[in-house]
């Protein structure tokens, strides 16, 4: 054991037996004393004399005892306590400085912790399952996907084939399973409710290896059409058990009505089990084989090889590596593909060099990971920038402040304090600032990250939920950055402040001839770096914000303001065909009579909601052209405020018997009929002949960033599908809240069987469709604002400290005839140089750094001169303002008073 550790442990243990140790010390000394006395007596001295001589020889026993106690004390610990209380007093004394220092750090650390908890929740946290390192994520490589060529969506037959291959021992897995997060309609006390749920295949639970809290989990016996012999089974979460059954133990065997079918609750999963998708957290789990029952009539399982919807994961046998799994999957891919009976499908898949891949699945898989990984990394980089900025700023301020304390420190050095001790004390000060900053940052981080997560996932609505709570990893991260910060911030100033000798200090003192140049390089470099960093942040923010503003300005081709959507889910009610259309008509008329409603229509795919549908129609030359398709109700274009360039809207009279009608947007019209007016033309599609009845303005379909695609609209009244679920689009004047209540009561009256429609605003849909861009823009603008503020404070603080030290010099200059303007110039120049150098460096750095943003920018060059110019201007303005104040103050110095101070 190293001596230091032995020492520490023994001292530590002594703390717990202080009294006994004390007694032993006394006894030991007493023994020595006695032995001395005995020796004297043996040498023939009379007892009383022996006592006196022994006492004199031994010296002051109480003093020796005290010395022994000191040996056992924690010297450094007690020094530490003294330093802490001293630093606390100092920090209290200069409250303004402390507040600025703590709040800048809180800003930096809070921002970092917030983003890190998001990254942690989405990208880092392992799945709540034993041996999660054995979990493997299965992907597909396809040549046609380009780039890395990987995708993670699978069809159900692939999964079944893989299950069979695993069963025959050809794959190094103990379990292989698929899952899909969705919403189930569950009958509650007040009609159907939508509950976050997941379809899981038979080996899902045995693969996750989490024991149920109650009952049993789903097994392969449940994952067969119609369920096991005991019927359809469902597993519920502990949270759902709490909310719906009040933790009643007899929940097992209870029937739940899901999608109008009775399911038996067979088990309850514990709270810590969140499933394999970090952004899902399902409340209900049903077997994959039950999907056709629950999702009828839109079953993905029944769509067979053409529905790419499942995520597949597997648990590797212990000892099997990812490389082995990868090789086994790659070798068996063609076997899986050939299980299909569709020759065309097999040929396409083989031509595309389809290959299954394995990668670590210890962190589960979420679709949002693919979507937000890059934006989160960029935002995190900005956060690190902000933290660095806060550190630089604090270092500069501490350094400026400690020059004011140089005299005190030099005196203490001269009086015998060691340099190490002084540095320790100065570091404690910065550690205390860092600890306070971290505490403040940690206080706000959970609230902020929850808000951000909600903003990011709002497009997924009820289906997604991300746990961003502070776990040990986030706390460790915060502690780590706090420590690094404290050392970064405190060390340089502490080293520099303790480097002077008293003689120099006394010589320099307050005198005017102070050597300014000697020490001023480091602070200048620090401040210039700060300016450079701030400029980079401002440029990035400017680019992102400009891009989002341009996105909004370009607009979607319709007017989203005052437009609300009500989605009607008709899949689980009895009406269909014409009678269902009559219900829609009734609902439409009912809505139209609500106060504030200007017009109403129906649409199958709400623009920019993320879904799309395409058809291929022949153009005039008989060539097939791919056109985006949508199904709409009467007066759709009036409601959306999409201009009708020619022709008419659909009406309720456009029934199936009246001949198929179609409306094209401008792009589709020129695509299909480049040489003639499309109105009245026929388009043949299958056995149908569509007649073009109108040409309308272009509107964005599923991506605000892309140009409007060619789009063809067909009426819902001629939909070949008899049980369509459409969304009502409503043009409102006035607030949406009273309308929402009215619409809900209207629906329960007209269609009691369907779930209460969810009301969304079109502006919300639009914002959700650019959620990551919006998040990046909002955050970066906020960061840029903070960066400007922090830099301003830094420039102001360091200059005013420096100027305060030059009071007498300036006084003499003024006494010798310097004009006020000259004094202002003198002080101002100091910062002007820093700001200039920093800005120049910042422009160059930003020029290169902004490249990473390129893929997030819409209609904005990464070198947009306007943004660059405006950023430099903003920074220069702030720098000028921050420098002018100390300069003006310097110009007000009274020469007489200043010189008399000497």
């Amino acid at each position: 054991m190293p001596e230091g550790l032995h020492d520490f442990l023994l001292r530590l243990s002594s703390l717990f037996r202080k009294r006994m140790l004390d007694r032993e010390m006394l006894e030991e000394l007493e023994f020595h004393h006695t032995m001395l006395r005995d020796k004297m007596t043996r040498e023939g001295l009379p007892h009383s004399e022996a006592c006196i001589i022994a006492h004199r020889a031994f010296g002051n026993q109480a003093r020796w005892h005290e010395r022994l106690r000191e040996v056992w004390q924690f010297q450094s610990f007690e020094n530490l306590l003294r330093d802490v209380s001293f630093s606390a007093r100092l920090l209290r004394k200069s409250l303004g400085f402390t507040i600025v220092a703590v709040s800048t750090l809180a800003l930096g650390i809070g921002a970092n912790t917030t983003i890190f908890s998001l990254i942690n929740g989405l990208l880092l946290r392992p799945v709540e399952a034993p041996h999660s390192e054995q979990l493997t994520l299965i992907g597909t490589y396809q040549k046609s996907r380009g780039d890395r060529g990987l995708s993670y969506g699978f069809n159900a037959p692939y999964l079944r084939s893989l299950e069979r291959l695993k069963q025959s021992g050809k794959l190094p897995f103990t379990d292989i399973f698929g899952y899909f997060g969705t919403l189930f309609q569950v009958r509650g006390n007040s009609g159907n409710e939508e509950i976050r749920s997941a379809f899981v295949s038979g080996q899902y639970f045995s693969g996750m290896q989490v024991a149920p809290l109650l009952g049993r989990y789903l097994t392969p016996q449940d994952d067969v059409p119609g369920g096991s012999s005991a019927g359809l089974a469902v597993v519920i979460s502990e949270g759902f058990w709490q909310r719906w059954f009040n933790r009643s133990p007899d929940v097992i065997g209870h029937k739940l009505i899901i999608a109008n079918k009775p399911f038996t609750v067979v088990g309850v999963m514990p709270k810590q089990f969140k499933g394999a998708d970090p952004a899902q957290r399902p409340d209900l789990f049903a077997a994959l084989a039950d999907e056709p029952i629950i999702d009828a009539p839109y079953s993905m399982v029944n769509s067979g090889y053409h529905a790419w919807w499942l995520n597949i994961m597997a648990r590797r046998q212990s000892g099997a590596s990812i490389e082995q799994a990868n090789a086994a999957l790659a070798a068996l891919t063609n076997v899986v593909i050939r299980d299909s009976s569709d020759a065309g499908f097999i040929k396409d898949a083989l031509d595309d060099q389809t290959r299954f891949t394995a990668e670590s699945g210890s962190r589960g898989f979420s679709y949002f990971r693919v979507m937000f990984e890059k934006p989160l990394e960029i935002v995190f980089a900005m956060c690190v920038g902000i933290l660095l900025l806060a550190c630089l700023n604090l270092t500069s301020l501490l350094m400026a402040r400690s020059t004011a304390r140089e005299r005190e420190l030099a005196t203490r050095l001269a009086l015998g304090a060691t340099r190490r001790r002084l540095i320790q004390q100065l570091l404690i000060e910065s550690v205390m600032i860092a600890v306070m900053g971290t505490a403040a940052g940690l206080g706000v981080a959970p609230v902020l990250s929850r808000m951000l997560a909600a903003m990011l996932l709002s497009a997924a609505g009820q289906r997604a939920q991300l746990d961003t709570s502070l776990d040990s990893r986030v706390l460790l991260f915060a502690a780590l950055i706090a420590m690094i910060t404290a050392i970064l911030v405190g060390f340089v100033p502490a080293l520099r402040a303790t480097s002077g000798t008293l003689a120099d200090q006394i010589k320099d003192g307050q005198y005017a001839k102070q050597s300014n140049q000697r020490k001023s390089l480091i602070p200048r470099v620090l401040m210039a770096t700060e300016v450079c960093l701030a400029l980079m942040l401002v440029v990035c923010a400017g680019l992102l914000a400009t891009s989002v503003i341009r996105l909004y300005r370009v607009g979607p081709g319709f007017d989203p303001h005052g437009l609300v959507n009500l989605n009607f889910n008709m899949a689980k009610q009895p009406l269909e065909g014409d009678s269902l259309l009559r219900l829609y008509k009734q609902i439409g008329e009912g809505i139209e009579h609500q106060p504030g409603v200007k017009s109403v229509s129906f649409v199958q795919i709400v623009p920019l909601s993320g879904s799309d549908m395409t058809e291929s129609y022949p153009d005039v030359h008989g060539q097939d052209q791919i056109v985006h398709a949508n199904k709409i109700g009467p007066s759709y274009f009036q409601t959306m405020r999409i201009p009708i360039l020619e022709g008419r809207e659909f009406s309720w009279e456009d029934t199936k018997t009246n001949g198929s009608k179609i409306i094209l947007d401008q792009t589709a019209a020129t695509l299909l009929f480049p040489d003639r007016n499309a109105i009245g033309q026929q388009i043949s599609y299958g056995k149908n002949q569509y007649q073009v009845v109108a040409i309308v303005g272009d509107a964005k379909y599923n991506d605000l960033r892309a140009a409007a695609p060619p789009t063809a609209y067909t009426p819902i009244t001629q939909d070949s599908f008899s049980k369509g679920s459409y969304t009502a689009v409503v043009r409102l004047e006035g607030p949406a809240a009273p309308f929402a209540t009215a619409a809900r009561s209207l629906t329960t009256r007209l269609a009691p069987d369907i779930p209460v429609p969810v009301l969304t605003t079109m502006s919300g849909v639009l914002e959700d469709s650019i959620a990551s861009e919006r998040m990046m823009a909002i955050l970066s603008v906020y960061f840029a604002f903070c960066a400007l503020l922090v830099t301003g404070i830094g420039l102001y603080g360091t200059l005013s400290y420096a100027t305060a030290r030059r009071t007498s010099e300036i006084g003499i200059r003024m006494a010798l005839g310097a004009q006020r303007a000259q004094v202002i110039g003198l002080v101002f120049r100091e910062n002007a140089g820093i700001a200039l150098v920093g800005s120049a460096a910042g422009v160059i750095a930003a020029y290169f750094a902004s490249q990473v943003l390129a893929s997030f920018l819409y209609g904005t060059s990464t070198h947009d001169p306007l943004v660059l110019g405006a950023s430099v201007l903003a920074l220069v303005t702030i720098a000028c303002g921050a420098s002018l104040l100390p300069a003006l103050r310097a110009a007000r110095i009274d020469p007489m008073a200043a010189i008399r101070c000497e």
């Binding site: 054991m1 032995h6 032993e24 030991e28 023994f31 010296g59």
Partner: protein
């Protein structure tokens, strides 16, 4: 910072005292008084170990794991604290005595130079 101090010829600077304590314990466990006596006698009564220096040194060595301590009975049947070399202490003593031999030889060379 090293502060100069008046040095009594019989007083030992700390490093040397520690070495002597270790040496005294080579023959087996001993209590503080016996150590002081042994050093005093073996040095032909030249070196006198101050109690105020001896016990802090002993305790420091114990804290660093160079000595271990147990309570036992002394020859006259009194309870006393006996110190003993640990393995680490043995190693330290070897290193120290080599260092000392080199040092004293070097000093001797210098002093014998004519």
């Amino acid at each position: 910072m090293v502060r100069e101090k008046e040095v009594d010829p019989g007083e030992l600077i700390q490093g040397t005292l520690e070495m002597l304590i270790l040496k005294a314990l080579v023959r087996g466990p001993a209590h503080g008084y016996a150590i002081a006596e042994w050093i005093h006698l073996t040095s032909h009564q030249v070196l006198k170990v101050e109690e105020g220096a001896l016990y802090p040194a002993l305790h420091r060595l114990q804290l660093r794991g160079i000595l271990s301590a147990t309570w036992g009975a002394s020859t006259n049947n009194r309870r006393a604290k006996f110190y003993q070399l640990t393995a680490l202490g043995q190693k330290r003593l070897n290193a120290e005595s080599q260092r000392w031999a080199r040092l004293s030889a070097a000093v001797a060379f210098v002093m014998q130079a004519s």
